[in-house]
Structure formats: C-alpha cells, structure tokens
C-alpha cells in the first residue's frame, strides 16, 4: 500500500505546479495585459481628463461624461452604429450560413470555391473600400454599368444619405460572409451523419431537417459568429473611413468614426476616450446579453 505523501510535500508540489502554470501563461498574459487590458484602463483614466493633444492634461472628473449625455452628435452616431449593426449582423450571418450549406458538399473543386469565398476577408479593408468606391461610382462604376444593361439608371450610391449606409454595410457583409462561412462549415461537419439518416427515415424534408436538426445543433457556432459579428460591426471603421468619411452629412458617422474625428481631427483625446468608454460599455452589455440568451438554449452534446 502506498503511503500518501506528507502534507507539506504535497503543498510544495502544488505550489510548484501553480508557479509553473503561471510561468507558461506569462507570455500570453503579458500580451493580454499590455495590449488589451492596459489600453482599456488608460482610456478610462483619460476620459476623466480634459486633454487636448499638445496641451497639458487637466483632471475634470466626470465633466466629459456630462457633456457626452447632452451631445446630440454622440447619440446620433450611436443610432447610426445601431443601424449599421442591424444590417450587418443578420446579413452576414444569414449569408454565411447559406454559403456554408452550399459548399458543404463533396463535389470536385469544392475547396477552391471555399477558398474563393474567403478571399474578401483576407484582402486589406482599405484597399477593398477603395475598390468598392470605384464599383459604386455613379458614372463609370461597375454596378451602375451593370444596371444600365437592364435599362436601369443606377443611383449615386455613396452620395445619397439614404443609400450610403446600406452600401457600406453591403461591403461589410461581402467582406465577412466568407470568413464566417468557415465556422458554420466546421459546425456542419461536426453534426453526426446518423442524425441526417434518422431524420430522412422519419420522412423529414430537407427544410424540416434544417430547422429541426441542423440549426439547433449549430447553436454553439451561431453564438460565436453572432458575438464576434456584433462586436466587429460595432467597431467597424476602416471601410467607412475610406468610402464615405462619415458622410454625406453625418449619415454614416458611426461611433468609431466620431472617436477618430474627436481624437485626430479635433485632438480632443479626453473626450474621444469618453466616447470610447461608452462604446465599450455598450458592446459589453450587448455581448453579455447574448451569452445569457444563448446559455439556456445551447447544447454542446451531439450524441
């Protein structure tokens, strides 16, 4: 019979293990602390200061926050952001789900199609934004030239306050649909084939199978895709910066663009930080709600 190790020895061993664990974590931890957590804390601190770049920062407590709540530009930008999110998230999710169903077949050359669909995500957003402004050009753009084939006189997509937002959102959807398709594809391939056969035996139509079996079993993937998409859409900046600069008027001035404007055009880093904190809180609340909603409805067990 083995004697249990003396208590002190076990404790020392556990301590050593803990230390070793942290030592192995350290490289990641440094990254997370230094490049994710520290900036967040710095921004929160900065939001309490009146700091115009090139001037001395001055502590002003919550004055920036008081200004924030009476600033119609800020409210407008958050409504615009919400509008953007409400187009992009369902658009990207549905399109990527459909694409994944489409490429989840064993056909020759299918992997090339898959790769092709992911390319928009690999390209530089700024370059893509530039290419899309050419496509959207009312006179010579590919889109209106195409519409002209059918005798349609295409509108000025990016100069109309009505159409500019759907146009930039469409670019976002195009850019991320292929990438999100990969997650759904992985999710689909995790669903045991036996379920497919069982439902077929029970006489379920492909549509019924999709809604009764596939979709519920994709919930873990859905959770991930929705959360990353919501966060990504709230933080969208680059394509809007290139394509509309928040215009025409302020019809595409999303929160991140306003932050950029305050920080790098007006050099008001204190106030820009305050808007950033608000955006952070909004995203945090939305993300937590998503988790809570899905927690009760998700199964990770396919057996």
């Amino acid at each position: 019979m083995l004697k249990p190790a003396p208590r002190r020895g076990r404790q020392a061993q556990r301590q050593r293990q803990t230390l070793a664990g942290y030592a192995m974590l350290a490289p990641s931890l440094v990254g997370v602390l230094g490049f994710l957590l520290a900036p967040v804390l710095i921004v929160i601190v900065l939001s309490l200061f009146d700091w115009k770049l090139l001037a001395t920062p001055e502590f002003i407590g919550l004055a920036n926050y008081r200004e924030l709540f009476s600033d119609s530009d800020v409210w407008h930008s958050f409504l615009v952001t919400l509008y953007y999110v409400l187009i992009c998230v369902p658009g990207t999710t549905i399109l990527s789900l459909l694409l994944s169903l489409l490429v989840n077949r064993k056909l020759r050359g299918m992997k090339y199609f898959r790769a092709l669909l992911v390319i928009p995500w690999m390209a530089t957003p700024v370059a893509m934004g530039l290419v899309w402004t050419w496509i959207f050009d009312p006179g010579r753009g590919a889109l209106n030239q195409f519409l002209a084939v059918f005798g349609i006189d295409g509108p000025a997509w990016l100069s109309s306050s009505l159409l500019a937002m759907p146009s930039v959102a469409a670019v976002h959807i195009w850019q991320f649909a292929g990438y999100n398709m990969l997650f759904f594809l992985a999710g689909l391939q995790n669903i045991p084939a036996a379920l497919r056969e069982a439902s077929a035996l029970d006489g379920a139509s492909p549509v019924a199978h999709f809604f009764a079996i596939t979709l519920p079993l994709l919930r873990p993937t859905m959770l991930f895709v929705l959360i990353t998409n919501v966060i990504g859409s709230f933080q969208a900046f680059d394509t809007i910066f290139v394509m509309t600069e928040g215009g025409p008027g302020n019809s595409t001035e999303v929160a991140t663009y306003l932050i950029y404007d305050e920080a790098f055009r007006k050099y008001d880093f204190g106030y820009a930080s305050t808007i950033s904190v608000l955006l952070f809180v909004v995203i945090l609340v939305v993300t937590i709600s998503q988790f809570v909603y899905f927690e009760r409805r998700t199964t990770y067990d396919f057996s």
């Binding site: 490289p27 990641s28 440094v30 990254g31 997370v32 230094g34 490049f35 770049l53 090139l54 001037a55 995500w121 530089t124 957003p125 700024v126 402004t133 959207f136 050009d137 009312p138 006179g139 010579r140 000025a156 990016l158 100069s159 109309s160 991320f176 990438y179 991930f224 990353t228 966060i231 990504g232 933080q235 900046f237 680059d238 290139v242 394509m243 509309t244 600069e245 215009g247 025409p248 008027g249 404007d261 790098f264 055009r265 007006k266 050099y267």
Partner: protein
C-alpha cells in the same frame, strides 16, 4: 482592421509577434533621439509626404552635407493621412522629426502649442531676408509676429486644359478668360463649346476649396475671411454669388458633372480630367508631375478666369518647420537656413518639382516644364498677380473638415446656397 483576425484566436505566438512588431516599429520610427553618432556626426530626420519630391531632395541634402560634412539628413516619407496623425502624436510625446513639412491648413493647430521653433534668429544669422519670399507664404507661417516656417514653395492655382479636346472643338484659348455670376464672359462660352452630350464636360465645378470656390469668391470681390484668425463671411453677398455660380455651372449652364460624381471623398473629379471627360480643370501646379504620366493628351495651362473683381488666385505654399525640442537645434537651424537658400530652392525648382517660394527663382521651373511641352508661365504670372491665402482659424483642421463637408451641398442642388453659406460661417466662427 484586424478585429476579426486576431481576437478569436489570440495565441501566444500572435501576441508575441505583434509585440515584436510593435517594438520594432517603435524603435524604427524616426525621431530625433540621440543620433549623434561617433566622430561628432549628426543625423537629422527630415519628414515629408511626397515620394516624388523625395527624389529631388536627395540632391539638396547631398549639397547640404557637402557644405556641412558633420551633418547628414535622413528622409522619412509617410503617406498623407498617416503623416498628420503620426506627427501630432509624436509632437505630443516630445519626439518628433527635427525638420518637417507643414501646410497652411495644419499650421493653426501647431502654431500656438510651442512645438514649432521660431526661426527669426536662424533666418537673420544666415543672412536671409523674409521679404525676398512670396509674401503669402511668409504670412501663412507667421504667428504672433514670429516666423515659424521657412517658405518652401508656392502652390498656385491655374487652369489645366485638355489640348486635344480644345483643338477638336476648334477653339484657341484666349489670353484672358473672364466670368461673371450672371453667366457673361468668354469662360462659360468656351466651356459650353467643350461640353458634348453627357459624356464630356467643358469644366469641372467640384468641391475643392483651394482650386475652386475660394477663387470664385475672391475674383468676385468677396472675402471668405477678413484676416487670418478673423471672421468668416461666406454668407456675404459676393461670396454667395460666387458659390451660386459654382452651382450654376452644373445645374443651370450644364457644363460640369454634379456632386454625386465629384464630391469628396468618393468623387473622381481629377480622374475625370485625366480620362478626358472634363476639358478644363483648375489645379495647383503641384498636380503636374502626377497628372503627366496619367494623361494621353497634351496639357495646356491658362490662368484662372478673371471675375468682376479681376483675377485673384489662391496661394497654398508649404513651409519647412523645425521641432522646438529637437536634440540638435544648431544643426537643424543650419538645415532650415540651407533649405531657404537660393541654392536649395533652385535645385528643387530647376528639377520641376516646385515653384520656389523665393522670388524670381521660377525660371528653371518654367524651363523644365517647357521641355516637357507644358508652358507653365500662367502659374508664375498668377502668383505674381493678385493672390489670396487659404483661410485659417483656431482649431482649423477640425473646422475645415466640417466646412468642406458642408460645401459638398453646393454641388448637389438640394438646399439653397445662402443656408449652406450660413452653416459654413457658423462652423468657422464657432468659439
């Protein structure tokens, strides 16, 4: 940009790579730390955004180092957008290039902040005289009676035209073009002759303050602003007439594409000229080196049309400025003085890059472009005639962005011009 790429799988490797990249970037970025290497040699950092002029400045700095063997100059070229964000953050952190380029529009945001070294002593010590440079450029970089910028070059507005289209229409460009708010004058006449259906326009009236509406306002006898850091008067009668004229060229006289195709940031105005869809196109002379490789037709240059108050054109000159907290004030001062010298300015002018801000130094510039088949004399004549500065005000970079955004409406025919002008005044005169 990489929001989707990094977050879901932030592995240790990506973090480390990112960290390494960042550190590498930090150490590589140019700032005047202690670069005084062995042997008492000093390396100065010179920041610019124009990769064409970078080639020209190589010769300038060779000449400078020949005169000052202990000082070398390293150039850093940054793309336009990055230039300003990086510069501002560097200035705030106290580490900026020793000498860098500045525009009229960006001057007010830096002038009162103590980050630009006054150059009056440097200029006096080198025996240079400020009144031998174009007065508009000198004035543009003066703040509270201190000269903060060494006049570098002149950006003059002239009228580029497509010689192929002009001769096809059987037109000889008159010596003097004229316009008036009511549509009289030979400019509109020619623009109409050069307009063919909806595929070719005689002119391009678009939202570009420097080459367009600021000139209309000035040559109509209006003033965008009474004096630097003064009060805006876009809603004044003369200014409104001029801005209405800018709109009429599109919607009344139909000689120009409208704002849906030309408004920044997505507009393609310059490209339309390059492609031969627009026959006459006002531009800063600095556009020439960029335009030439793009076009398949010979470019002609005329002076801007003279309005009821004669011809007045916008001058937008650049300056070289010195970082107030440079580690090498003496060496940087020498460099500034050299850049203002006839030798340096002519090196750049004779190679066709710039019209020197130094008076009567433009002959080499004209000779260079003559060899390329372009007569740039109208630019030089315009600069010697009646000129006006771009307006400036406190917090200008933020305001000018808003004003320019508002001016997009001038080219869309949706809201009345006086209302747009009032909004522009309100933005400009704020605080």
């Amino acid at each position: 940009m990489s929001r989707f790429k990094s977050t879901p799988s932030l592995s240790r490797r990506t973090v480390l790579l990112g960290a390494a990249g960042l550190l590498g970037g930090l150490t590589a970025c140019g700032s005047s730390t202690d670069k005084a290497s062995s042997g008492g040699k000093t390396e100065l950092v010179y920041r610019l955004w124009d990769e064409q002029q970078e080639v020209g400045y190589k010769k300038v700095f060779e000449a400078f180092t020949a005169e000052n063997p202990d000082i070398t100059v390293r150039m850093e070229v940054l793309p336009w957008d990055q230039y300003w964000t990086k510069l501002t953050t560097e200035l705030a952190s106290g580490k900026a290039p020793d000498v860098f380029w500045l525009t009229v529009e960006n001057f007010p945001d830096l002038a009162g902040k103590g980050v630009l070294a006054p150059l009056d002593d440097v200029i006096a010590k080198a025996g240079l005289k400020l009144d031998s440079y174009h007065p508009n450029v000198v004035q543009s970089y003066k703040f509270e009676d201190k000269q903060l910028g060494m006049p570098k070059d002149l950006g003059v507005v002239g009228l580029l035209y497509n010689k192929a289209l002009v001769s096809k229409a059987g037109i000889t460009m008159p010596d003097q073009l004229t316009w008036a708010p009511d549509g009289s004058g030979n400019f509109l006449e020619i623009a109409r002759k050069l307009t063919v259906g909806d595929k070719q326009w005689g002119f391009c009236s678009w939202n570009h303050s420097q080459t367009q509406w600021l000139n209309w306002i000035a040559s109509n006898g209006g003033k965008a602003m009474d004096k630097p850091y003064g009060t805006f008067d876009f809603a004044g009668q003369k200014s409104i007439e001029a801005m209405q004229w800018a709109r009429d060229l599109i919607f009344k006289w139909k000689v120009s594409p409208d704002g849906t195709r030309t408004n920044p940031p997505t507009g393609q105005a310059t490209e339309m000229f390059y492609r031969g869809e627009v026959a006459m196109f006002p531009a800063n002379n600095a556009l020439l080196p960029y335009a030439l490789p793009e076009v398949k037709f010979p470019i002609g240059v005329a002076a801007l049309p003279a309005g009821p108050a004669g011809r007045t054109v916008v001058i937008n000159g650049l300056a070289e400025v010195m970082f107030a907290r440079t580690k090498h004030p003496d060496e940087a001062g020498k460099l500034i003085a050299f850049l203002g010298s006839e030798k340096a300015q002519k090196l750049m002018g004779d190679a066709g890059y710039i019209i020197p801000a130094l008076n009567d130094a433009g002959a080499g510039y004209a000779a260079y472009w003559k060899k390329k088949g372009i007569d740039v004399q109208p630019f030089l004549d315009s600069a010697a005639g009646s000129t006006v500065n771009m307006p400036i005000a406190e917090g200008w970079t933020a305001k000018v962005a808003e004003i320019n955004k508002t001016a997009n409406n001038l080219y869309l025919n949706k809201t009345e011009v006086p209302g747009i002008a009032t909004t522009m005044d309100k933005i400009g005169n704020d605080k």
